[in-house]
Amino acid sequence: MNLREISGLIFIIGLGFLLGAVFKCLPYGEPITGVGQTITALAPIEVGTTNIVASVLLAYRGLDTLGELTVLFVAATAIGMVLGQRDPEISSQPEAGFILKTAANILFPFLIILGAYIILHGHLTPGGGFQGGAILAAAFFIPILATPASPFNHHISSLIEGFAGVAFIIIGLLALFGKGYFLAPLFGTGEVGHLFSAGSLPLLYLAVGLKVGAELAGLLARLQETEASD
């Protein structure tokens, strides 16, 4: 047995021990704390969302979402730094096949609509900024995949990303000065279940969606642009 196999064996034994301890010590199927029940009961009244997950992500644990956005931003920045700029002397890649090119043309508007729907209805139905942002990024990346020669405007994507991040923090600061808590929901709850409800939560989700979409699209385009290092 070499070192790699031994370390793998130790890892598996340790993981099994941890899982066994978790199953032995924690009651299965019973809630350990009452936080979940309290939030499920209070979220539609306090925050005004029908999607409880959105109320947890943006209202009760909004600071954690800001942390997630920061982690994503740092990761995208690091990738941009590692990959660097495109070498203009490298010849561009050949165009993709017929199926991908046709599908890219047809899919683009539908993916935009789907992503915008998932972001804007994040406080009503499952989904939200992160999922919708990933779909928006896919919508802008598929045309690049189909025709690699078409340029991706990194300035615009960076601008959108920066403004969305700043908007998220500004809404949080407005809540801090208006209500005394950072990222507290503003503007009241509205009528539960309507599109324009839940106060500032749709605005926050819009900021999250635009930021994630611009970031992921820029990251994918950067990966696509750089050639294989031989």
């Binding site: 999607n51 997950v53 990959l83 890649q93 050949p94 998932i118 499952p126 989904g127 939200g128 992160f130 999922q131 990933a134 779909i135 990024a137 896919a138 990346f141 992921l216 990251l219 994918l220 990966l223 696509q224 750089t226 294989a228 290092s229 031989d230």
Partner: protein, 88 residues
């Protein structure tokens, strides 16, 4: 009914995960990883977590697969054979 859907998705996940380990072709292994995420998102729907299922389908299946495939090309493990033949 739900039991069978869950069972099928678990079997698909496990077989795709083993396929990822044993397939020699790197690109096929990346596709198998995407299949794991796809079956996992079906399992999340069965477990009544549609939010997590959406995330898994968008990020796990889509973005991760694309990033892994592009990284394969970046490090030179996946080359487009047809064009090289054309050039030489």
């Amino acid at each position: 009914m739900l039991f069978w859907i869950a069972l099928i998705s678990v079997v698909v996940m496990l077989s795709a995960a083993f396929a990822t380990l044993f397939i020699r072709n790197y690109l096929a292994a990346v596709a198998a990883i995407s299949v794991v995420s796809l079956a996992l998102s079906v399992l999340f729907v069965v477990l009544q977590a549609p939010d997590v299922a959406l995330t898994e389908a968008a990020v796990g299946t889509g973005v991760t697969g694309v990033i892994l495939a592009l990284t394969l090309r970046r490090v030179g493990l996946w080359k487009i054979e047809k064009n090289q033949q054309k050039e030489t």
